[in-house]
Symmetry: D2
Subunit: 464 residues, 4 copies
């Protein structure tokens, strides 16, 4: 393949993008600039980073484009630190080989390129996989991304993809992009905290960049930085508890899920007259979509569908579309899937009696279903641990050194919630309750302190 330029080319003058989180994003390679300018990457401007969370935290309107630039920038800064302080001297000495920089930067920039609109819900309904699609975008000759990457070398796209897939041979590079404390997580915590306006997501990035070090098996942290790493873990925990798992965002997510489920059912049901006017979702309803089909989707396309569906005759489709666009979240109560499933059936019966189709108007949502990952080192995944290194070179796993981390490590977080239309719960002072007053009263006998209880049992005082 003839190449118009050497993909490795350094820009004669560094290019910068102003960034509210990192001040400047510094672009030093022509290839990085070209990737940012590619059609597939620009599409990330049209996909919100936090999906329905922006409907709870109104400032959080930032996109995956912005976040991807941030992951690139943190990776670049780590490479600078590694190169300055821990450059490899002899192969295998555990130092940093700066020849890895370009592939690491490309993987950092592109790690989320396969995401679609409201990925979590979309994947649930349409059985897509954003990581597979990321790999596909990077390695398919039809994409601009591939065209650009392949100018470096024929096997460069595959190399970049293998970092995403964690099969790249150098564990340092893999862990920079994907581990318990990687450039991805560091950027999204800071960025989501900045845009939501909460401050518990902030941690000491500059200090962490000072104590991060490469070694033979990946990356670790100097023991002197233990508290900075600990603080990062706690910030992450706080963001999950207070932002990512917020019940209201999930109350919008279940509406989205049911809305797409309804549309899919109508589309594939030959008995129903339901046409895809835009022909953009059709391939997904029919489970025969191409990469090209996928790359046409974004938040705006879905919202446009919903705007059209608001006027469809099907009352469920129209109502759910309205609830989503106009932001009328389902409300929820906590429950335990181990003990309360019978009670949920009782509640569903009440809801059905009020005339609702419980397939579309109730939902069970577990926060750990959310697309954000949490620290669970003991789980049955081959997750890399966070390692600290003492002065004499011996290692300690983080939760062994930190009682705080130990207290939250290895436990599945989040809660199980049962979602129903808000008219069943906590009416505002202004709400008119007329039709279903007895049903409403019956429903609320099952609720105490925001959780489901058995109305026929003695109520205990202990918190759920």
């Amino acid at each position: 393949m003839s190449s118009l330029y050497d993909g490795n080319l350094l820009l004669p003058i560094e290019h910068v993008f102003r960034d509210p989180v990192h001040d400047y994003i510094h672009i030093q390679h022509q290839i990085i600039l070209d990737l940012i300018n590619s059609s597939e990457f620009q599409r990330l401007r049209r996909i919100k980073q936090l999906g329905t969370s922006s409907l709870t935290f109104h400032g959080a309107e930032h996109t995956r484009f912005t976040h991807s630039l941030g992951v690139y920038e943190i990776t670049r800064r780590i490479c600078d630190t590694f190169e300055r302080n821990y450059a490899t001297q002899t192969p295998g000495d555990g130092g940093w080989d700066d020849n890895e920089r370009l592939v690491a930067l490309c993987a950092a920039l592109l790690h989320d390129i396969g995401h679609g609109p409201y990925s979590h819900t979309f994947e649930h309904i349409f059985k897509t996989d954003h990581e597979e699609i990321t790999v596909s975008i990077i390695t398919s000759p039809e994409t601009e991304v591939y065209q650009i990457l392949s100018k470096v070398s024929e096997d460069f796209p595959e190399k970049v993809a293998s970092i995403i897939q964690k099969t790249y041979p150098n564990p340092q590079v893999v862990q920079l992009i994907s581990s318990q404390i990687d450039a991805d997580r560091m950027d999204y915590l800071l960025r989501d905290a900045y845009h939501t306006g909460v401050n518990y997501g902030t941690f000491d990035l500059t200090r962490i960049l000072r104590v991060i070090r490469p070694y033979k098996d990946g990356i670790y942290f100097q023991m002197s930085g233990m508290h900075a790493v600990e603080d990062y873990i706690v910030s992450r925990y706080q963001m999950y508890m207070q932002v990512y798992f917020h019940p209201v965002s999930r109350g919008m997510e279940v509406i989205l899920d049911h809305l797409l489920k309804r549309a899919k059912k109508m589309y594939v049901d030959p008995a129903i007259q339901f046409k895809d006017q835009l022909n953009l979702l059709g391939p997904f309803f029919e489970k025969k979509f191409t990469l090209k089909d996928y790359l046409k989707l974004d938040d705006g396309v879905l919202a446009t569908y919903f705007t059209l569906w608001k006027e469809e005759k099907d009352p469920i489709l129209s109502d759910l579309a309205t609830r989503f666009l106009d932001r009328h979240p389902f409300k929820s109560v906590k429950f335990s899937s181990k003990t309360d499933m019978d009670l949920i059936e009782d509640l569903k019966a009440i809801i059905r009696e009020a005339g609702y189709d419980t397939d579309y108007y109730t939902a069970i949502n577990n926060s750990y279903d959310l697309p954000y990952d949490f620290y669970r080192p003991n789980q049955n995944t081959n997750r890399t641990q966070i390692e600290l290194v003492r002065q004499d070179g011996t290692l300690v796993e983080l939760s062994k050194a930190s009682e705080i981390v130990s207290s939250i490590a290895g436990k599945v977080r989040g809660d199980e919630r049962f979602y129903v239309p808000k008219e069943f719960l906590k009416p505002d002072a202004s709400n008119e309750i007329t039709l279903f007053e007895h049903l409403y009263d019956e429903f609320n006998r099952y609720i105490k302190n925001g959780a489901i209880i058995d109305p026929n049992k003695l109520v205990e005082d202990s918190p759920k």
Copy 2:
């Protein structure tokens, strides 16, 4: 009309929204909460505050929804200050009458509700007027906003609308919402600065809230706060110069303008086969749209059209849609409409020779065409001046007290630029120049220091 609740109702417990700029937005009236939850207001979540500026400053992805909450909040804080310190004692004493609070808050919240996607460009092509539509949304019985407002009193919607129209009798209320230093401008400067990540838009809001005072003819500022007001004016100036008038954003705006112009031309031309698949823009192409049609539009609807148009056969439509979605801005040079129009004709001829239709591939853009207003008190508009008040009660107009403000007052800012496809200007090191090399060379004879010059005249050294 029977009312389910008194529109004036205070919430039993204050409701808050977390906000990155003001920390919290405090909602104290049921009616404000209801307005926020209305369909027309939620739609603002889907319309970016800064339009194409987010394509230059990637962090600036915030929407008119967020900004509208901020304008409400600043207005609320000013009302609190006025009520605490300057409450009216006897009618006509120039103090603040807190009975005006609710109507002021509603007007603040709703002042931008008539905005559509990329308002400036959209209005240019389709001859719509966002202010008229704002009034229409507030006063049309079919809207949720009207339904909510009319619960306060039958004439309440008209009152709110008259503030937007500046015909409301109390000048204090009008100037809070719309004057040279109003809640609208104060919020957007702070918010745009926050999200772009620049800091020259910040000014001392808390200090300004301390020196703002009501008087018989509107609002003024204590002389002791002169420098704070001066700093606000300079911040505004800096934001216009560095953000709002940025040549790259305008290079995207001219593409958008030409793209919609092309689509409109194709739609109304009976000779061209061009169908509006979504039937959402049709009413606008045909100039017979309803309020309901307008309320279906948002950024995502336009982007969805562009995604569909990328695959249309018309090469201009398809190319411009691609340039917009994939962000390939036109580039520009400065010129003077007084002296350089002949040179521009020369340049257009070169561009035509290269095969471009100059109706769609060149543009003149003057930054003062942008939808943001700038301080020009001497212009032929009935603009309210910023007045300062001395200890003895006498007034001084701001530019009389501040040499800095005086230096930038009353002058039209911004520059005139001629836009062309980027292949004609400053190729990257990597660009391949083959076909049009002689045209490119010819073109660049006309360019020096980023401005148009006459290649046949002796070049002077003075800056343009």
Copy 3:
């Protein structure tokens, strides 16, 4: 006593002080303004908030004056919230009685007024007690503070003092000023974080102010704010671990301690010619000081002594004064007082052999000796717990609701360190080691990973 004004007087116009942490400090009572302008309160401008910590975190040069204003301001904001949302209706209903506001504000402002220079060390050497002195300043007719307070009512000074002493009958007021999560701690965490430039001390003050509530037995927090309170506890923990317990600050503190010890010994030893030129410390050396003597002391007075002592003939006094003024901290190693006391004797012997008086050139310092308090609810102190309240009014103690808090609750934090002159530890590359090379080598046989080990035992791998 005749009064020139009613102490309760509200200022006609609110007075403000610009504050980097709270933006503005709002003064609304004449008496508060007068207290701030009193001689005793202005003296706090000359006493650093963090003592020797500013020698480790150079930005932390703020004083107790600044902090005291901040504690006042947070208390004022809580009073506003309490009055607006939880005003008492009938006596004993657990609501907030706004008649308590003035006494609470005075106590908040004055809570630290008895502090002297480097309080912790000063009290250690001179057996003073800053809390006793605070009470004394408030209740002694000779002080300006007393004169101002007594204008409110004859018993007002005693009331204010009783809040400091925790004997005031209203537990809400006592807990606002002194509890595990009081205005004092909230201000110093934010302020110390701001000035040191670290961000782990920040927590969500505005959210905590929203969930704090009065009840019959004091103050508690709504369950919905649990994570905000949890985050506050973690921030506090991080500040103790990373700032307040920093080994280098303690390495300066032990020098200060030994320096004052030396001066005192010389002063009281009739055999030594040592004169107190300023006659400001004499009363303390002789243990017969008055309140007036105490109020003359500040950081600058101590530093002036040290400047004079640098030129004294006594080599220990002169050397320690130089080490303190020129900031040459002792260095330290961790040890365990349970197992390593013999090893410390070995080390002292080495140091003595090198010619140092180990009474003045070695020190044991336990970080929990520091003047900052840590969360230890299970200890044998009558400390108030942090209580959360559920929707149904039942209470939960914080560590029962938060696994993180549970993990750090009830444990004494900090470490034991053995301090020696820095020449014995980790010489810089540039250091010249000549005279004591064998002593240095012998000394360092006892050190591994920054902690003391027994050089004659098999070294285990486990962390200290």
Copy 4:
């Protein structure tokens, strides 16, 4: 001279100091670390950066130590930028020669080392000159600073000193440390804004660091950064107008001035029994001080004197010492030295009639007397201009390109104020006015809108 280490030595591991303004100060040379640890440099910890301004803006308690580190850090970052982007290729090409880095860093760090306590006032009374003393500290063999510098080379101290004196041959280095937009000014604006808590001092440092460039005759700025430089000039202007020239700080400064003047008079008057107990100011009263004498002084030493003087019998000395320590500033009115000198004599007569010695109880203070410099390019000083460079290499002076800068350039700022004891002006509601009521009334006939007027002339409406 034998050297224990090469002064040029790079530290094996970079050393950092946490800084609230620059996040981290990065130390890369052993010599820089040694200079910071020198006795003369540590002394800067005891000298406040803003003198009496901290008595108006209570957060501004930072010292010259902190600021000096900041100036060093900004210089270091500029060197990095210059070296990366504009390294010299051939001698005389106007590029940056990185051999200049060390001397530039040392000059940056030490540029303020000759400052004493409250320099401006101190120099006024004692005829000292901090710049001369800076040079003296750097070049006197008795100082630790000299000892450290001379390890680099014998003439290195002189080189560093010549930068301070602006006689160093390389204008780039001189302008980095001292010009209209140098590392000194950039740090103090940001730092003073941070600690006072105002935000008008902030400007876009990172952007300025991107557009600064070396050239043959010094440093200039790319035209594309014009607005960033303009914003810096406006920020500086705002800080002068709102912080540095604040009338209350000057009202404390005149007390300090008169207090020292009184002490000096008493000391040198053989008729008065007045002893210098500490013998630290004596050499200055007698005008025969050594460098060693000077280096013993700091803010705390002066405050200790004042504490002692409070109890002196001389009523003026004792009263002024009390006013300073307890912060009772003189109040002021504006006047014009051109037209109002007779009126001032009238006012002095009134004050004398009230029993005050007007030599000590009145003062004229012109804000441009303050020790901060302001942008006055046209004045008769050989000040370097700020130059912008166009794409084609031609230069434009800043005020030619910026109307805002033009409006404030070349004009002496600040105002003339007449200071008197506060009892003569604007009594608080609570003040008792008894003895001098008629004098007070007479005095206030001369005051209108905060400025002096002629009570016997028709009062015009124009602002002063």
